[in-house]
Every structure is written in structure tokens, then in C-alpha cells.
Chain length 353, copies 4
Amino acid sequence: MKKIKVSIIGATGYSGKELIKILLKHPHVELRHLVSASYVGKNINEIFPDFLHQLDKELIELDIPMLARDSDLVFTALPHTVSMKIVPGLFTNKELKVIDISADFRLTNPSDYSDWYQTELSEESKALLQKAVYGLPELHIEEIKNALLVANPGCYPTSAILGVAPLLSNQLVSTEGIIVDAKSGTSGAGRKLSLGLHFTECNESFKAYKCVKHNHIPEIEQELSLVYYGNKQKGRKDSIKISFTPHLLPINRGILSTCYLRLKDSFDDKEIFKVYEEFYHEAPFVRIFTPPALPEIRFVTETNYCDIGFAVDDRTGIIKVISVIDNLTKGASGQAVQNMNIMFGLTQSDGLI
Amino acid sequence: MKKIKVSIIGATGYSGKELIKILLKHPHVELRHLVSASYVGKNINEIFPDFLHQLDKELIELDIPMLARDSDLVFTALPHTVSMKIVPGLFTNKELKVIDISADFRLTNPSDYSDWYQTELSEESKALLQKAVYGLPELHIEEIKNALLVANPGCYPTSAILGVAPLLSNQLVSTEGIIVDAKSGTSGAGRKLSLGLHFTECNESFKAYKCVKHNHIPEIEQELSLVYYGNKQKGRKDSIKISFTPHLLPINRGILSTCYLRLKDSFDDKEIFKVYEEFYHEAPFVRIFTPPALPEIRFVTETNYCDIGFAVDDRTGIIKVISVIDNLTKGASGQAVQNMNIMFGLTQSDGLI
Amino acid sequence: MKKIKVSIIGATGYSGKELIKILLKHPHVELRHLVSASYVGKNINEIFPDFLHQLDKELIELDIPMLARDSDLVFTALPHTVSMKIVPGLFTNKELKVIDISADFRLTNPSDYSDWYQTELSEESKALLQKAVYGLPELHIEEIKNALLVANPGCYPTSAILGVAPLLSNQLVSTEGIIVDAKSGTSGAGRKLSLGLHFTECNESFKAYKCVKHNHIPEIEQELSLVYYGNKQKGRKDSIKISFTPHLLPINRGILSTCYLRLKDSFDDKEIFKVYEEFYHEAPFVRIFTPPALPEIRFVTETNYCDIGFAVDDRTGIIKVISVIDNLTKGASGQAVQNMNIMFGLTQSDGLI
Amino acid sequence: MKKIKVSIIGATGYSGKELIKILLKHPHVELRHLVSASYVGKNINEIFPDFLHQLDKELIELDIPMLARDSDLVFTALPHTVSMKIVPGLFTNKELKVIDISADFRLTNPSDYSDWYQTELSEESKALLQKAVYGLPELHIEEIKNALLVANPGCYPTSAILGVAPLLSNQLVSTEGIIVDAKSGTSGAGRKLSLGLHFTECNESFKAYKCVKHNHIPEIEQELSLVYYGNKQKGRKDSIKISFTPHLLPINRGILSTCYLRLKDSFDDKEIFKVYEEFYHEAPFVRIFTPPALPEIRFVTETNYCDIGFAVDDRTGIIKVISVIDNLTKGASGQAVQNMNIMFGLTQSDGLI
């Protein structure tokens, strides 16, 4: 089998590093160019000694023609607002496929982007939105198969959407008052210098942050509305709104989202379990826990699984859903590779299990 | 000033240790007997070398007449269901005061105890419930002043009740759909052997547990109903019900509760802030954060403070309240000492700031 | 290629779990029986939900005839003194190969075992010592190729021996005054209940333990003497003695050993580096760092690498060697699989990179 | 009793914060000015919300005349090379006393400073060295009593010197081959931005750093030589040299030093214990552990104690000494307050126990 030639733009952030780590073990991938604005000329080994004896490659400047010539697929692992400046240029070459790990192509409606990211999407990028597919395979696998540009989901949205989609899809819960209380490890904040991310500042502590305006909210609402109402054109007025609170956990990797929804009727654990199992029966990376067992972050660390458990609280009519992922794997680079596998006709789990 | 003679039953659990640590620095306390069923005959220094050069005292067996003779106050820092076997015996001596850190005397209605703790309260203990005062000074300071038996609140309840009481007391929020998503450090689980509390099992992880039936729920509901409806006799049917989910944080000490309530009307940050400041203007250990600042666990570690912050989410009509305490201080032993100070006419913060 | 049929005795400790995790991804292995004294009848998934959707197998009682019939190789991942009771029984079947992860077959001289483990080795096990090969591939690969019984090295010894062997083998350092100051994560202590391994007891702390009598010492001295003096018969009188101090790190996985040796002469970094590179030029899992770069535990976490760095201190004539491994991988189960690969004629790194 | 008026230059680093925390509880101190170059005009509460309700003070620019006028004592908690620019100016006012927490005035011989800190000490600072006293109370209490300028010891030196001084003072050990393997929590590295101190970069890891040239070495050697040879004039040629390796622990606070020394003769535990007890019988903050008990970092966290344990290894003739301190308390600000107490005729432990 011919190997897929892959390059990475933004190879020295945590998502870039994780991509390399996964792709090195992938049986059908050949790693080509690694682009890094910050470390041009250095060997990837100097930045990440983890790769000693495994990968010997110099980090290069962005050179789109060369990337296009030498690659079948480019991963862009860049901060939001940076991606939109680079990704359109990659489409001058028709054959190239792109998986973008930033937020820039996730929101169907460009005004959501400007509302939540306080920046206007560039005109070229707005044009690309037509091509962009939201890369959550459990919801959009058919579109991903033929996509040229996949917008890889955010980490919090992956865990929240997978956690509650089956309940909404089956109309078992109210669309009102949905709460997602999410907790993430520190790698979710990236590798940029920040006092608040120093060990001494977040170890032995815990905090909520961006309490009402986290920019992952519109992405979650877009997808949940789609699941519930069934079409993209549904205006914002009728769409689902969630209360979302992110917190910072003193661990390296992992997200646990505790989701609270109001059941429309009374259901027992078996009925709910069946709903989840059916919704995900073709999804190789979703595992449903049988109550009262509940998932823990450690069960999914360094894997591409999303583990989901739930508990029905008869006293209050609330169902609690616990959804855990590794933010760097299923929440970023693992999911990106899963999308690559789908786009190139491979088995979804190649290189991931 | 004459010193208060204090003894501790259950001196070698985490609450017992913390009590000793605080009392050693208290200007008006003389530490008398330390009772420990597990370590009779050992010096407290052998169990906790932290106390070397500070305290040289042998752990003794339970001897109620001796305790009664030599003490003005006894702290019982025992597991629930153990306290109820020991505390009634302490009241054969009229002058003795008792602060019980277990759950056994917190619930006004004995049937709540049997429902949630799966054990019947002993008859002698039921009789004592009349005397018992729920020791949350911010709500019950007048009753505590004259109490002989104080039931020291649970750690989760302290953080949850203090976090939302001002909103309920002022009728600003609906009593429906209250959610408390709470996260606690490992010391909250005590010092009993348990595989799930081993470092390797909880480090670099995070999980929810006892998802719908945690026995701190009735205590929170009892106090919130009292705050809202204003009298203890209110039957369970009309009382407030909350959805409560505890989680285990990989840190030693601290609780953060994220509380979600539905605002009855639209309020701005200043109005809410004023409500909190007024509610707690005489409470030396509650600090209200000015939005958008939010409390973090590390701000209260090893202190008796409860720090509270909030955020109004106009999009959803939800107010989020973040309340943090140290589970061993304000959540247990610090609050117990605060209660002692009140019972003996001292300044609330003596030995605690 | 025909798969190797593998069974595990002691499947539910940390080494057993890690073995399963590695073997599930190994291209040439078929996992047969999982034996666990503690959890007979349970599915491995109930004990370790990490394996959900990956492995569906019931834990069974020890049944040697069945194991022998169905397996080409048995891993015994048992505590020391337990292995010696079980391993001899496995050799009633001549074709079976065994890799023992305990300490019971590591010491050539049975009196060392009784001196350091305070137990006499059983007669049957003494007889087996003749067959047993010390499974450190970097030193004994030829013997391992033909071994029926491999005694898999301890975690501390692996890191210490690999760290200093090149210096001793080349006679560059004195045999006097060798110091190994070693630090290990908590998984090294196993899964047995212990208060000292509770999160609250070891988090945010650090300690030395078993300060002069740790039972990994004889194993290190045996191998270092062999490296230096070149034959096993060398009596204890002339053998190398080391000062070894283990410490407990508040992390899950990983060992870092800081070794201090006295250089016989003055050498520069390049000379030393060359000595190490030559010594390990055929070892796929040893990586030498170029000064002043030094290895860190995180570079080897969840890998089978041993990373080694060094610094020559001209002021004192001391060379410091830093050697890091993952205690569960190169320090236990990864190395066991490396040994399996060698015993069955596979590439050393199959299933491990 | 009249309160000591105290100001702090460098109030917003970790040492500055710790000083404030300690001084707020000190019965004989009045906190005056807080100087911070980075946060002029902000309230200390905005930087450290821990101090809400406890301290309400604006951070100011450096204004030496004002400081001199309003203070009896100034603490300078500044990085090395910054202190030397500021401290001389403080001595234009004769009555003012200064405790400097940097390294700038610790080394008697200015050429040691230029050798190890790669900077020349300013001429004004060289002149001040005559006045400067090395502020380790256990060795220099008499000089500290009358000092105008105290050079507060480094964190690593405090733990190492206190750990081995009794053995050297009593000539029980060789001066050759002394090894100090030290491990420190992350707060020791200060609050300056650094990728290597990010949570994700040091959590779940461990490393050695500055392996042969850490600038705490000359300070340790100066004091140990003084202890052994008994006078400051002893030239460098005959002085004690140590091999020192610092490591970074994934914890916030604390240092554990494992020291290896060669015993000149054979001693049993009781003899050694007696030597330590006698050496420190007047030192309120040194606690000696009876073998085989050993100190752990957690026993001293947030205290001013230095806990020392030891083990004699008869096989090798090596004595291992384990010495633990909290790097921010006994290793910095606690010791500074201890020095203040001595300089002002108070009880050494005022405000510290």
C-alpha cells in the first residue's frame, strides 16, 4: 500500500508534537515536512528529546509550494486567527487535503466567529467555509470521507457533544437548561508562556476560568442544535443554548465534562444505555459504561477513546452524563488522524489502537 | 485569661491532626487528652512527626469520666455511625461542651439520616438532636453561642451552602434546578486504607463518584430550605432539592463548588455583589470576589476562609457561583475551632488568622 | 508468521497490566490465559476499564497443565517469594519458556538471596538458578537467546547498571565509593494497600526509604562486579559495593538515578560520550545525551528507552551519570517483552516502538 | 512592646509573598512599605488574593529616603545582581538594618562571586561585605545579633550545611568526596516566566539541572570549610570541595538533600545522634530524627524547621544524611524573620511557630 505523505505546519506546539508521536507509529504514513515558525533550523529532537533515535528532521520555514508538491495531506496545528492566514494558500493546489486543528473553520456562520473570537474571519477563509467539514466522525463521517478541508473539533466540544448527542438526537431531554461543567488538564492551554500555567501557580489548586464567554461555546451549540433540529439552516433564535464552565485541572492531559440535562420523561438505566449503544454502534472510539460504573480520565489517557457514563437522578429528573477524553488525542491530534484515515479510505482506527 | 481545656476523640485522622495543628497555635487553649482507638500508647509524634518539638503526648484509650473531669470541651473527630455511639455518653456531665465533626447530629429529621446513611440513629442520639445545633456560624451564630452540642457541617455542604445562601435568602433565584458540581481534594476521603486513594490510582486523573446518592445532599437541602422558607418545620415535600455531583481532585486539600441557579430576574454584577456583601458583612471568614475575578483553591489552602465569586450568564439566565474552601479547615477543623470560639465567648477568628 | 501464545500469571498488578497493554499491540503475540489469585472469575475489563473494547477475557485460577498446554511462553508477574513457589512447576513441560518479573531468580548466589530477602530460596528454585539468565539484554543478549528461564531485572538495577556499566567495563572509574542516588515514581511500590502510598501521604512530599538495606543492592553489585571483573565466580570479598539510596517521587511512573563515580584519570566529554556510544551501539533502547543536555523522566515515560546523560566535574574528579527509565516499561514489562522478542528470534523492538 | 517597622523591596516574588504572609502574623511587626518594580500602583491583593481582608496596601516604587525614614528594617527580596545595586543605597541611613535574601552578600571572597555568578560585584557592595553576616543562625547567632546587614542563606545551602555541619565540626568524616544530591520544589526557581517551569513541562517528570556549576556551591563550601577548619582566612586550596547536584521535584515547596560522607571511624547510631543533638541543642528549628526514622518534606512544609535524619552504612563506611526544609520558609523568608528576631532581641521563634 502506498504511504500517505504528510506534512505538519505548527509542529512544535503540543498538538503538533502529539501528531508526530502518533504518525511515527502509523503504518500507512510517511512524515515529510515539519514547519515551525519559532524553531526554524533546529532538529525536532532538540525541541522534543522524546523523538531521539525515532525521528531526525529539521524544522523548516513555511514554503507552501514545497509542501503542496511533497504532501498528500497537511495538518495545520496553529493558534486560531493564524490558521485563517495560511490555510487558504494551501488550496492553490487542488489535490492537497488539509486538516486544520484551529477553530477558524469550525463555525458555519462567520458572524459566530466574529462574535466569539472578536476577530473577523478573512474573506478568503469565509469562502473556504463552504468546503470545510466539522470533523467529528461520530456525527459527520460521510461528509469527512469526501472533504478537502476538515475543521478538527475543539477539545471541550468533542467531549461535550459526544456526551449528550444521543439524548438530544432521540429527543429524550429538554433543550432548556443544559449545563456542561468541564474540567481540563493544563496541556489544553498550549505551550505559550503564561504565569498562570507555571507549576507553582496551578499545582495543588483548581479554578474556573472564562466563566461565561469561552469560545468553544458556539461550536457546541452549533452541533447540538444540528443534532436536535436536524439541519444547519436553523437560525440562532431557535437554537440550543448551553451554560458552559471550563476549569483547570492540575494534570497534564485529559478532560472530564459533567453534563446536566432535564429528562422529558422517566427512563431507567437500561433504556438510556441502549440509546447510547445504538447511537454509537459504528463508532470505534466511543465506549459506554454500564451504570453505576463511571469513566475516569486515566482510562483514556494517551488513547483516542471517548468514555461515557451516566446516572439518572430520579429525585430531580436530571440525567448526569460524564464524558472523558484525552484532550491531545481524541480532543485534537488523535481525532485529526482519525479524520485522515477516513479521508484516505483507511480503517478509522489505523495507527490509533 | 483562663485557658479552655480541650480534648480530642479521634486524634489520628486528618481532621484530628488538623485540630491539633490549629489548637497548638491558639492563644486561649490548653490541649489535654488525645484519644485514638488505633494507636493507644503511641506518642502523637510517632504518628505525625510534624509535631516533633511541639507536642509530646501519649495517645490514650477512651475514658469518658477522665475526659469529662479534665476538659471544658471535647471534639469528636470520628466517622459517622461511630460518633453516635460515643457522644451521648459525654453528656452525663452537664458542664462539658461537645463539637462533633461527624454527620451524626447534623440532620434535624432522623428519617433523613436513615434514608441517606442506611443506618438508624441510636435512640440516645435521637434524643440529643434537640440540643444539637448545626454549626455553620454564618447562618446560626446565635444558637451556637449557647449550644452544648454543635454538629460541625460537612465539607461539601459548607462550600455549597455558603455559596448560594445569599441568593436564596433574597429570593433572587428559582428553587428549581439547582445544580452543585463539587470537586474535592483527596484528604476529604479520610485516612482509611483504600486502593482508589492510592497515589497511582488518582494522580493524573479525575472522576465523579457517588453520582446521585452522596450523603451530604440532605444536609445541603435542609439548610437551603431553611434559608429560603425560613423555618425548620417545613416538610420535605416542599423543600429544595439539588442535583449534587462530587468529584475527586488530585490535590491534597480544598473544595471548589460550581453552583448553577436560575435567576428570577435580570441583575447586574454590582447588584449581586451587594447582596453577598450584605449577607456576609459580619462574617469574618467569607470573602466575596469582584467580577470578573474568581476564587481559586490555592487562595484558601490552610486557611479558614470561604472565597466566593460569581458570573451572570445573560444568554441563559443562569448565575454561576464559585465557592472554595479548604476541606480540612473551613470544611472541618477550622470551622470546629470557629464554633469553639463562639461557644466560649472569644473572637471568632482567634487562633484562625 | 505464527503467533507466540502467551499467558500471564499475576495479571492484575501494575506489571501484569502493563504487560497486557504492550502485548495487545504486539504484532506477533496471541494473548491466552490471564491468571489472578485475587480476581478469579472477573473480566479483566472490570479491574482495568482501560481495556474495554480491546480485551474481553476472564481471569482464571492457576492451572499449570492448561497453561503449559496452551502457551509458548508464560510471564510470571508476582511478588518475590511467591514466584519461587510457582515457577518450578512450570518446567515440568520442557517446551515452555518463562520470563519471571520477580526477584527470585536474579541472584546467582543463593546466599545473597537469603541475606537480602530474609527468606531461603526453595530447593527447587535453587536448582533452577542454573538455567536462569539475568535478562538485561544490553549485557546478556547471547544467553537470553537460548534461555528457558529469564529473570527479568529490577527497575532500580536496570537504571543503575545501564547508567554506569560502560565506565566500569572500560575501567575508567574507581570501584570504590560508587554512589547511586535513585528516585522512583509510586507505581514501583505495586498495587498492595499501604497508607504510605495514599495520595494524601505522598503527594507534595518526597522521602528516602530503606536507606541502607534495599534488596535491589545485591543485584546491582552482582552485575557491576561482573562487568568490571569479567566472571561470575569472583567472590564477594573483591566485588564492587555501592551506596544506594532509593527515594519516592510523587509521580506515577519513572526512575531517575544519579550516579557518582570517581574518574581514574581526566577525560573530556567527547571521550566519555564515545565510550558510551560504543558500549551501546547495538542496543536499540539506550540513548546517550550529548552534554550538557540531560535526560528527564518525561522523555521516556511509557517507552522502553533508557536515556543516559553525564557531566564531568573537574573540580572534584567525580563523573555524574543520570540514567532514566520508565519503571513499568524498561524497568519491568517492556524489558520482559524485549526479552521475549530475543528468545523467539524476533526483532528486539517489535511491539515496543 | 514597640513594634518593629518593616518594609520589603521585592514584595511580589515568592519570597516577598512569603515574608508578608509570615509578618502578618508576627506579634511584634508593623508592615510599612511594599516595593515592587513590576506592579507599582496595584494593591497587593490584586497580585495575591490570598491577602484579601488581611492586608490592604498599594505597591510602590523604590523610594529609599522614605523607606529609611519609615522603617527599622528593610528586607530585600530581589534576584542576585539586582540587590547589589540597591542595598548599598540603604546604608546612607545609619540606623536602618537590612536583611538581603539574594546571593550578593553571602560570599566572603568577592572573587568567588565573580567566578560563580559571572558578574563582578560592584565596588560599593564589596565594601559592604565587611559588614555582612552570613545569616545562618545555627552557626552565626552571635554575629547576627549585632549585624546591620544580614546575607540570608540560599535554600540549598541551608539544607546542606545544617545537614552535615555536626559531622565536620566534630571531625568524624573525611573532607574528601562529600556528595550532596539535592531535590527542590518548583517555587525555588522563582516567579519569572520560563517554559521549563510550566506545569505540563515539569509535572509527572523529574530532572537534574546545572549539574556541575550551580551557584550555591561556593556558599556551601565556604561555610563547611569554616566549620571544619575554623577560620575564614583559610585559602581556597585547602578548603572543602563538594559534588552538588540539584534536581527539580514536581511539588511546590520543599528541599530534600541526601548527603554522602565517608566516616573516619566506625560509629553507631546513638553516637551520631548524640553529636547532632549536642550541636543543635540551642537551635529551636532543627529536629533530629532517631534512626531508622527519616524526615520527609511534608513534615516541614510551611514551617521553619530543618529536619535531619541519618543512616550509617557499615558495608561501605558511608554515612547518609537526609536534611529537609521548606525552601520558602527555612530556605528563605522564615529564616529571614528568624534573623530579624535575633537582630532585634526577640525570641528566635516569634511569629514562626
